[in-house]
């Protein structure tokens, strides 16, 4: 038996190969191309972002002048809820669909203890987990020996301010229709979150044997009157359950659809925001905001992306020029000179 190795390209390390080398010559065009592509994209994004209308009101009420100042120290169970009204003026009309957000600051939804404090199988309608929630939910797992549904800190601290928007036209307040469906991910609403299953559709019966989260005024099956937006598949609830990445965040609250093509969704003018102030944030220095925003193909107002694109594009272009100079100045040295020996 001969031990002679096979003469294959692989074994002899002679596989046909492309051998690129990064030289100024090859990289130059790439820099220019990147520059030429990025700058227009950046300008496009920047312009789009600037065309987006966004209006933001802070209604925390820390300033004494704020109408909501009186509600600053509300607790969870104040009945009737403390209400306040903030008037504001939109300078520009909002042409397309308007999205209404609430924003919280200094609220650590991404705290580890908080993030894990939920039971996804309970929320997915698993009957076993409904009555015996995961240990992760502690200390919001049981209350008075009854399992909490939905359990956990996230659900327990669900945002429960009610915001209503009125247009003030010659001292008459016309309510603006706020649509509360379509604010959660479709997959969340239809797959990930499910009400428990059982005989019939009576949610009250299905949630038998559980108790409401401590901070909630009402049990989960009374979140909404419509059956397809009640219980675990309540969209406000689902939105809240998607924990935010950063301590300052906003969450979609309501949609305002454009009625017809003749009129902007929200005309410029006076508006008032009625707030049922239930959610205490003062204790942890939090802020609450209401945001009205239109949306383009690239989402809401975000100057960062456009500026970043323009900057990177320009830098690439600039570097391309620098490299070109270097290439010309030193290029000859490299192609004609050889190894000194």
């Amino acid at each position: 038996k001969t031990r002679k190795p096979d003469n294959t390209a692989f074994k002899q390390q002679r596989l046909p190969a492309w051998q690129p080398i990064l030289t100024a010559g090859t990289v130059l065009p790439a820099f220019f191309v990147i520059g030429l592509i990025f700058i227009p994209i950046g300008i496009g994004i920047f312009v789009t972002s600037n065309n987006i209308r966004e209006y933001e009101i802070d209604y925390t009420g820390t300033e004494p002048s704020s109408p909501c100042n009186k509600c600053l120290n509300v607790s969870w169970d104040s009945t009737p809820p403390c209400t306040c009204t903030i008037n504001f003026t939109l300078e520009h009309s909002f042409e397309s669909n308007v999205f209404m957000y609430y924003g919280l600051s200094n609220f650590y939804q991404n705290h580890r203890r908080y993030v894990k404090s939920r039971d996804d199988s309970q929320l997915n309608g698993d009957n076993g987990s409904l009555l015996n929630p995961s240990k992760e939910c502690e200390p919001y797992r049981t209350n008075e020996d009854k399992p909490i549904a939905p359990c956990g800190a996230i659900a327990n601290s669900m945002f429960n301010d009610t915001l209503e928007l009125y247009r003030i036209d010659n001292d008459t307040r016309t309510p603006i229709t706020l649509i509360k469906k379509g604010i959660a991910w479709w997959t969340d609403k239809n797959v990930k979150f499910r009400n428990p299953t059982g005989d019939g559709n009576n949610l009250t019966a299905l949630f038998q044997g559980t108790t409401k989260p401590v901070n909630w005024p009402k049990p989960v099956y009374m979140l909404d009157s419509e059956p397809d937006n009640n219980g675990f598949i309540n969209e406000d609830f689902i939105v809240w359950m998607r924990t935010a990445a950063l301590p300052t965040f906003r969450k979609l609250y309501r949609l305002i659809e454009r009625k017809n093509n003749l009129q902007p969704t929200l005309q410029a003018g006076k508006y008032s925001l009625d707030i049922a102030y239930n959610y205490p944030v003062h204790s942890f220095d939090g802020r609450k905001r209401m945001i009205l925003s239109t949306i383009s193909w690239m989402g809401g107002k975000n100057p960062f992306l456009g500026i970043a694109y323009i900057t990177v594009g320009s830098i690439c272009f600039f570097l391309g020029v620098v490299l070109l100079i270097i290439h010309h100045k030193y290029g000859n040295r490299n192609t004609s000179a050889d190894i000194p020996n």
């Binding site: 001969t2 031990r3 002679k4 190795p5 096979d6 074994k11 390390q13 190969a17 492309w18 051998q19 080398i21 990064l22 030289t23 100024a24 990289v27 990025f38 994209i41 999205f99 650590y108 991404n110 705290h111 580890r112 203890r113 908080y114 894990k116 404090s117 996804d120 992760e136 200390p139 327990n156 601290s157 379509g182 604010i183 991910w185 997959t187 797959v191 939105v239 924990t243 935010a244 990445a245 950063l246 301590p247 965040f249 906003r250 949609l255 204790s283 942890f284 949306i295 690239m298 809401g300 975000n302 992306l305 990177v312 830098i315 270097i326 490299n334 050889d338 190894i339 000194p340 020996n341």
Partner: protein
């Protein structure tokens, strides 16, 4: 080795990160509404926990969170890379020897990268530089020289037997001595005879009247017995303790073998005691001249000595033969002594040696033999290449100084312009060791002062280089500790001299001294990587001592090959092993190590930054699956493949340009600067990932339907950018894109995408959380996320590309020049082809005219020697434009074999 140091640095980083975060956590938490806001309360046991215990748990939790910065999987990958990579060595066709049917053996794959770091090569001479294929050349009896005249063209002609006497026929007593000499050679050996009918490829002796094969552990003995056979005396066999020889008159003579005083490398001689049929008892001894001459009491010492020295100068191996006649009484004494020594339970070796010493004395000198050992093919070329590569080659041999020096000249270890410094016993006898050493160092250093050592032109003719010859006795004087404590001084001085010599020859070395000298260099203050190469059992100690031990699968058994880290069939294979494989292995492993650290910094640093935004709560940025699979499957295969396949320069170029080896010498690619660069690159990229995603997500909407993303989308975005950047970074570093590389790099990116789609596409029933459900798909449905990913990848790759281009343009290394050139050359291949064709035939013809001339001369040693020195081995002109040099090979590979290697 530097890997471990880097690991410690990373461990420190890890611990400090965890500490910083723990401290900050408690500072941040000092306000109760932060520690435990109403929406996020602790459980009872958590609240009751002791503060210090809690802090400690937090510290550990941070450690767990950041532990990925210590690339555990690196060890697995490195091991795999080494193990699989070593197969390329064994598979190498060029390192396979057709004659013996042996390829290289890899006994350990641990040292692959060290092959690219060798600074000192210690080589044995016999069997390593030379073929250890002995040929009996002449013998000298009482000053009369006998040459079997049948040696022509290095081949034995079968039809003629007999001897050709150069000197006049000796007289009567001479005749007697002559017969005794031949008998001595016939009897004094340990050769075994194998009958012809069981041929298994060993050397077959056609000449003998009864064809048979001689087998011995030492090729010298075989050569001698065969040579004597040509001179008329045939050793037949050893039968019932009787040695049978056929003398010139075809008469059978029987000698009773009484005692064998076997060979050892300390005594450097062996003896037999035989009883002739007439009842006389003889002791025949053969051995190195140095061990025989002092024991001789009569014989024509001076004549023989001069002959021996002449032969040694010509590079022949010489042995002296002596005898003494023992009376029955003497013999029985000797026998008794031997018997006692052999039966001794303690210190048997030592006692035996003493007895041998007693018996082997008062010889009558008979004569000397000379055996030629030819240089291995391309040994000179290999040594030259190694020296060009900045490797210092030391030859350690047990042979005589003259023999060894001649071989060194032949294999171009010493060139004609090399100034030889001698540090031998003879010189030390004249002056004191002290003076000699100081003189030498003065010579060397004076020269050094005027010329900077690191000029590239280590081999150019105008530069004076030094060769040092030292012998075993002198070495032991240097190494011997002195009472006045000046030994360290000598040692330093000696090392200083050695360091400035391009080549060192150590002759008359005992096996342990070989190891000693390797150790001396190994432990000198620069801690160079040493390589020892040898073929025999006497090299084993040196092979074991050196960092890398290489055995030649040679004639003196496989002992060296078994004890070595690598075994190769021929010395010439060392060139490819070091210059090509070693270089590749080193480049690959260094990139692999650096890349692993880089990618883990990229991976974990965003995690660290995220802690500042999640209340130092040890919240992970990435999903568990991503955390687990990042090192295992998303980023591991491309780098492993890189570690196996990368060829930054083609293998042929590396072989042709040994000087490229200097580019990686002294661990150049794993120095602190490189390490810090990679780490900072990693940190920069991590900052780009994290803050890029942060500004993209912070308080804005990134979907076109107004819905919001959560923390897992944030992490997935960072992770996607991370995986792409890290993989593309490797793609930028890859210089050798085979289809496998394409498959792996694009495949692992595709795998990441497919995995993410799958991972988020299903509600996994066995998981108790579904946090990744549709996160990846939702992210992909958002325009800004795409734009952000592209932007962040570009930004994080930009500095590295820029650095590479600028460095290549402004401060190119030799390797990069070659790369540029070969690229340039590929583009303009047609331009250079004619030139290449012009150059090559000239080489070819000169090579052809060389070889017949050499062969016809080979029976006359004297002439051959002058021939060796006479032929001007012009160092391959590196003068003509390098570009055409490279192009020539690409234009026609067939020339490179004959053109570039001037073999001896």
């Amino acid at each position: 080795r530097s890997m471990n140091v880097f690991l410690i640095v990373y461990l420190c980083i890890l611990i400090s990160k965890a500490l910083i975060n723990t401290v900050l956590k408690y500072v941040w938490q000092s306000e109760p509404f932060r520690d435990e806001p109403w929406y996020n309360q602790k459980t009872e046991p958590e609240r009751k926990r002791n503060l210090f215990l809690q802090a400690f748990t937090d510290f550990l939790a941070f450690m767990v969170l950041f532990n990925y910065i210590i690339p555990v999987s690196m060890y697995v990958t490195v091991e795999m890379q080494k193990f699989l990579g070593s197969y390329f060595l064994t598979w190498d066709e060029e390192m396979f020897d057709e004659d013996t049917g042996e390829g290289p053996l890899v006994n350990t794959s641990d040292l692959n990268e060290e092959l690219g770091q060798i600074e000192y090569v210690f080589t044995d001479k016999t069997g390593t530089l030379t073929e250890n294929n002995m040929e009996f050349v002449e013998c000298c009896i009482e000053g009369h020289v006998y040459v079997p005249h049948v040696i022509c063209n290095g081949q034995i002609l079968h039809n003629c037997t007999g001897i050709d006497m150069i000197d006049s026929s000796p007289g009567g007593s001479g005749k007697e001595r002559e017969e005794l000499f031949f008998r001595a050679l016939c009897l004094c050996h340990t050769v075994q005879v194998k009958d012809d009918d069981s041929v298994d490829g060993l050397k077959k002796n056609q000449l003998s009247r009864r064809s048979c094969i001689y087998i011995s552990s030492s090729p010298d003995e075989v050569a001698l017995v065969e040579g004597i056979q040509r001179l008329g005396y045939t050793y037949l066999r050893l039968k019932d303790n009787f040695m049978e020889i056929l003398n010139r008159e075809n008469n059978l003579e029987k000698f009773e073998l009484l005692e064998v005083l076997s060979f050892d490398s300390v005594r450097r001689r062996m003896s037999v005691i035989v009883k002739s049929s007439t009842g006389d008892i003889f002791l025949f001894c053969k051995g190195a001249d140095s061990s025989i001459f002092p024991r001789v009491k009569e014989g024509k010492i001076d004549q023989i000595r001069s002959r021996v020295e002449r032969n040694a100068v010509e590079g022949l191996r010489t042995l002296c033969v002596a005898y003494k006649k023992l009376t029955a009484e003497e013999y029985s004494n000797a026998q008794k002594l031997l018997q006692n020594a052999k039966l001794a339970l303690q210190d048997r070796e030592k006692k035996l040696a003493e007895v041998y010493e007693k018996i082997e004395r008062d010889f009558i000198l008979l004569g000397a033999t000379a055996v030629e050992d030819r240089l291995q093919e391309k040994a000179a070329d290999t040594i030259e290449a190694l020296q060009k590569a900045g490797i210092k080659v030391w030859v350690l041999t047990g042979d005589k100084m003259e023999t060894a020096a001649a071989t060194c000249y032949a294999c171009k270890l010493f060139r004609r312009n090399t100034q030889i410094l001698e540090l031998t016993t003879k010189k030390i006898e004249e002056q004191s060791l002290h003076d000699v050493l100081f003189d030498l160092s003065k010579t060397v250093l004076r020269h050094n002062g005027s010329l900077t050592r690191d000029t590239f032109s280590g081999l150019s003719t105008d530069m004076q280089d030094y060769g040092l010859i030292i012998d075993g006795a002198a070495l032991s004087l240097i190494m011997k500790p002195r009472q006045d404590g000046s030994s360290a001084n000598y040692r330093e001085l000696f090392l200083e001299i050695c360091r400035n010599c391009s080549a060192v020859l150590c002759c008359r070395m005992a096996p342990l001294q070989k190891a000693q000298i390797v150790k001396l260099i190994k432990l000198s203050k620069e801690h160079p990587i040493t390589l020892a190469i040898g073929d025999g059992a006497n090299d084993v100690s040196m092979i074991l001592e050196a960092h890398v031990g290489i055995g030649i699968i040679g004639k003196e058994g496989r002992q060296a090959a078994r004890n070595s880290d690598y075994a190769i069939p021929k010395f010439k294979h060392l060139k490819k092993m070091l210059l090509v494989h070693g270089h590749f292995y080193y480049v690959r492993i260094s990139e692999l190590v650096q890349y692993f650290f880089y990618k883990n910094v990229c991976f974990i640093f965003p995690q660290f930054l995220y802690q500042f935004f999640c209340g130092f709560s040890q919240q992970t940025l990435y999903d568990t699956a991503y955390l687990t699979l990042y090192n295992i499957s998303f980023t591991s295969l491309p780098i492993l493949l890189y570690g196996l396949m990368e060829q930054h320069v083609s293998a042929d170029t590396l072989k042709r340009e040994p000087s490229l080896y200097r580019d990686v010498a002294k661990n150049a690619l794993l120095r602190w600067r490189a390490f810090i660069y990679w780490t900072f690159l990693g940190v920069f990229d991590a900052v780009v990932f994290f803050f890029g995603a942060y500004f993209l997500f912070e308080n804005t909407i990134v979907t076109s339907n107004g819905q919001m993303f959560g923390n897992w989308t944030f992490g997935t975005l960072v992770f996607t950018v991370l995986v792409f950047t890290v993989t593309l970074k490797l793609a930028l570093d890859t210089h050798y894109w085979t289809w496998i590389n394409h498959f792996m790099i694009w495949g692992s990116l595709a795998f990441y995408i497919i995995f993410s789609l799958l991972w988020g596409g299903i509600i996994w029933p066995f998981l108790n959380y579904q946090r990744m459900y549709y996160v990846f798909m939702q992210m992909l449905s958002s325009g800004p996320a795409w734009l952000g990913i592209i932007l962040l990848i570009t930004v994080s790759l930009l500095p590295d590309v820029l650095k590479k281009v600028l460095c290549r343009q402004l401060w190119p290394t030799a390797t990069e020049r070659i790369q540029n050139a070969s690229r340039h050359c590929r583009e303009h291949i047609s331009e250079f082809t004619p030139l290449a064709c012009l150059k090559s035939p000239r080489y070819r013809s000169s090579d052809c005219s060389n070889s017949p001339a050499r062969r016809s001369n080979s029976h006359s040693k004297k002439m051959m020697f002058t021939h060796w020195r006479g032929v001007d081995y012009s160092v391959l002109p590196s003068v003509f434009g390098y570009s055409n040099k490279h192009c020539r090979s690409s234009a026609g590979y067939r020339y490179s074999g004959s053109g570039l290697e001037t073999s001896v």
